[in-house]
């Protein structure tokens, strides 16, 4: 342990911390750009304009999802002081899965709530925001809010949604299950322009709302007492950040499906890669890593594997293996 620390100190003194971090950030950004560019232009048969317009929508959804989940997860982990949590712990993913199952089960796959992308997006957003809003209200009703208890409540609600969904999936007609299955994984190809525009607007508003408070994140990471002692208006700042996290997660989930594991993956990889715990770097790094992961995943799934697996599966596989590789490599050094 001490050997590691001293080596890091020496390295920092010689190269300077920022130079290394910048180089790595640039490398990740380059990778993300290359993946997305390849995704845009590779394998186009027929009308270029049509294909590129269609694919730009997917790229837009990827960038949006990477930014929103990545940002929400970083802030969430700082607020809860827990590096393995993602906002999905409060049950939003499970609620989305339950909703999809329920729609197919009760209304059938031909109803507009399933087939019309805009209706589907609005319905999902309304439901998720409603649920998240109730939880948020619960969290801040009293001055001395207890984050632990609220997370536990979210967790319980999530388990409830999950067990109902799993029961419905068990008794679902196998053909209908196959239809429902397509939305039980995150997907970018169902995204249509109106939903994307709405989501982008909502996410931008949420981000703008929280942006003035980003500068407090480093101090909040020190803990409540330290933050208050250093002059942060703790309750007000934390309240705004929570609201932003909840909105970001709800809207992204409604747009592309249960994607929140991506956030955890991206944050953990960014932490391992960058070794920089300032939130400005971490937020940017998480966004770039997330974009690169999703872009690479899409490229692989659509251009090489021809949709044999959902993109989230590839992203989780590749990202997870890379994470373990980084962790093990670090231990051998």
């Amino acid at each position: 342990m001490s050997g590691l620390v001293s080596r890091a100190l020496v390295k920092e003194a010689v190269v300077g911390p920022r130079a290394g971090v910048r180089a790595r950030l640039a490398a990740v950004a380059l990778a993300a750009l290359i993946f997305l560019a390849l995704y845009l232009v590779l394998n186009i048969r027929g009308d270029w304009q049509f294909a590129v317009t269609r694919r730009l929508l997917v790229v837009g959804a990827v960038v949006l999802a990477a930014a929103a989940t990545g940002g929400a997860t970083v802030i969430f982990q700082t607020l809860t002081h827990n590096h393995i949590l993602t906002p999905s712990v409060i049950g939003l993913d499970s609620l989305y899965v339950l909703m999809q199952t329920l729609v197919v089960f009760a209304l059938g796959a031909a109803s507009p709530a399933w087939t019309d992308a805009t209706v589907h997006f609005l319905l999902s957003t309304a439901l998720l925001v409603l649920f998240a809003g109730l939880l948020y209200q619960r969290l801040f009703r009293s001055e001395r809010h207890n984050v632990y208890v609220v997370l536990l409540i979210g967790l319980i609600a999530g388990t409830f949604f999950q067990s109902v969904a799993s029961f419905l999936q068990m008794i679902l007609d196998p053909n209908e299950f196959l239809i429902a299955q397509s939305r039980l994984f995150a997907t970018f190809n169902n995204v249509r322009a109106p939903a994307l525009a709405l989501a982008a607007g909502a996410l931008a508003l949420a981000a703008l709302y929280a942006a003035p408070y980003f500068k407090y994140l480093d101090v909040l990471g020190l803990g409540r007492e330290h933050a208050i002692n250093l002059g942060v208006d703790y309750n007000r700042v934390v309240r705004r950040l929570w609201l932003a996290v909840i909105l970001l997660t709800a809207v992204t989930t409604a747009l592309v499906g249960p994607i929140t594991f991506l956030g955890l993956l991206a944050v953990s990889l960014a932490r391992q890669l960058l070794r920089d715990y300032r939130h400005a770097t971490l937020l940017l790094g998480t966004f770039l890593v997330g974009t690169a992961l999703l872009g690479g995943g899409l490229l692989l799934v659509e251009r090489l594997l021809v949709f044999a697996v959902p993109v989230s599966v590839i992203v989780n596989l590749a990202g997870g293996v890379y994470f373990l590789y980084l962790v093990l490599k670090e231990s051998q050094a």
Partner: protein
């Protein structure tokens, strides 16, 4: 009231509830078996057979599953010092899922117990791989174990999902792993007994888990072989949860919420809590299962569902009430 006395009272109340529920579980069902007849040894051979083949195995498996999975959760949360870690965080559940898939594809002709054994072997192999990884990495802090576990489980799960997706077996996996006691018969649930010796070891190690929960350096300072205790804990957790998940299916709440509710009221001493956790888990599973058998009698609602609904209601109520009281006190 003194602490010891209150402790004993709580345990006695839980034990009495468990006994009452056990009797109810034995005598509820389509075949009519009266407790009076049973007491007076007036059962017909068929009634005896029904008891031996389905009722008793069902009762035993519910109690074992409830107690074992709750204890596994308690240990896992203590070792990782993280209240949001469930016994399946160490990749066990994902490895078991992969095992089920392999059994379904490669050995379609095998009996259920054989398939379960295959899946169990996968779950254990997965856990050993995980323990090896944890041994090789440098500990940064306790959150690192569940993080690596999540990543590891996720990799395994990605492999499973991509294969199952190709063979259209996702629904079969959901069905297999949905918590359900109605298929528990003599000859199909014995896998659960594998968990019993592990639970006994857990009791012996309880104090060591408490100390390990105080962190690496503190534990080492007190003369504890930290790595060894963590590894023992992980193996216990994996064996127990694999046995339960594969025979009964996944039971929501047990590993996560039961230990949380108990430690919320009683603090983090494992030995002091372990009996409470075990009894509360068993009572909870048995109550949900029995309710599921009564509610649409003569049909059944799987325990995964009753547990999901009843459990969330009950635990939410507990939490909110406690929270309201805490807010008043503050």
């Amino acid at each position: 009231m003194s602490l010891d006395k209150r402790n004993a009272l709580q345990l006695a109340a839980l034990a009495a509830t468990l006994l009452a529920l056990s009797l109810a579980s034995l005598f509820v069902g389509v075949a009519d078996i009266s407790p009076v007849d049973a007491l007076l040894f007036r059962l017909t051979p068929i009634q005896k057979q029904i008891l031996a083949i389905t009722r008793v195995p069902r009762l035993l498996s519910a109690v074992m599953a409830g107690a074992a999975l709750s204890i596994a959760g308690l240990i896992m949360q203590q070792l990782t010092r993280n209240k949001f870690v469930s016994p399946t965080t160490a990749g066990t559940m994902d490895a078991a899922r992969l095992g089920v898939l392999v059994a379904l594809i490669a050995f379609p002709g095998a009996t259920l117990l054989q398939k379960t054994a295959i899946a169990f072997a996968f779950a254990l192999a997965g856990t050993f791989a995980f323990v090896r990884i944890v041994e090789r990495i440098k500990f940064k802090n306790a959150t690192f174990i569940p993080l690596v576990g999540l990543m590891f489980g996720n990799i395994v799960s990605a492999v499973t999902t991509s294969v199952a997706y190709r063979y259209d077996l996702l629904q079969s996996l959901v069905t297999w792993l949905h918590g359900d006691f109605s298929m528990i018969l003599r000859g199909r649930y014995e896998m659960l007994y594998v968990g019993v010796p592990f639970i006994l070891v857990a009791y012996v190690y309880a104090d060591r888990f408490t100390i390990a929960g105080m962190g690496d350096s503190f534990a080492t300072n007190l003369g504890l072989n930290y790595r060894h205790v963590v590894n023992v804990g992980l193996v216990i957790v994996a064996a127990v949860s694999a046995a339960v998940v594969l025979t009964v299916g996944s039971l929501p709440f047990l590993g996560l919420v039961v230990p949380n509710i108990v430690t919320l009221y009683r603090g983090d001493n494992v030995k002091y809590n372990i009996l409470h956790v075990a009894l509360l888990g068993a009572v909870f599973v048995l109550a949900c299962d029995t309710l599921g058998r009564i509610i649409i009698y003569p049909y059944e609602v799987p325990v995964g569902l009753t547990m999901g609904i009843l459990g969330s209601g009950l635990f939410l109520l507990t939490l909110l009430r406690r929270n309201a009281r805490g807010a008043q006190a503050a």
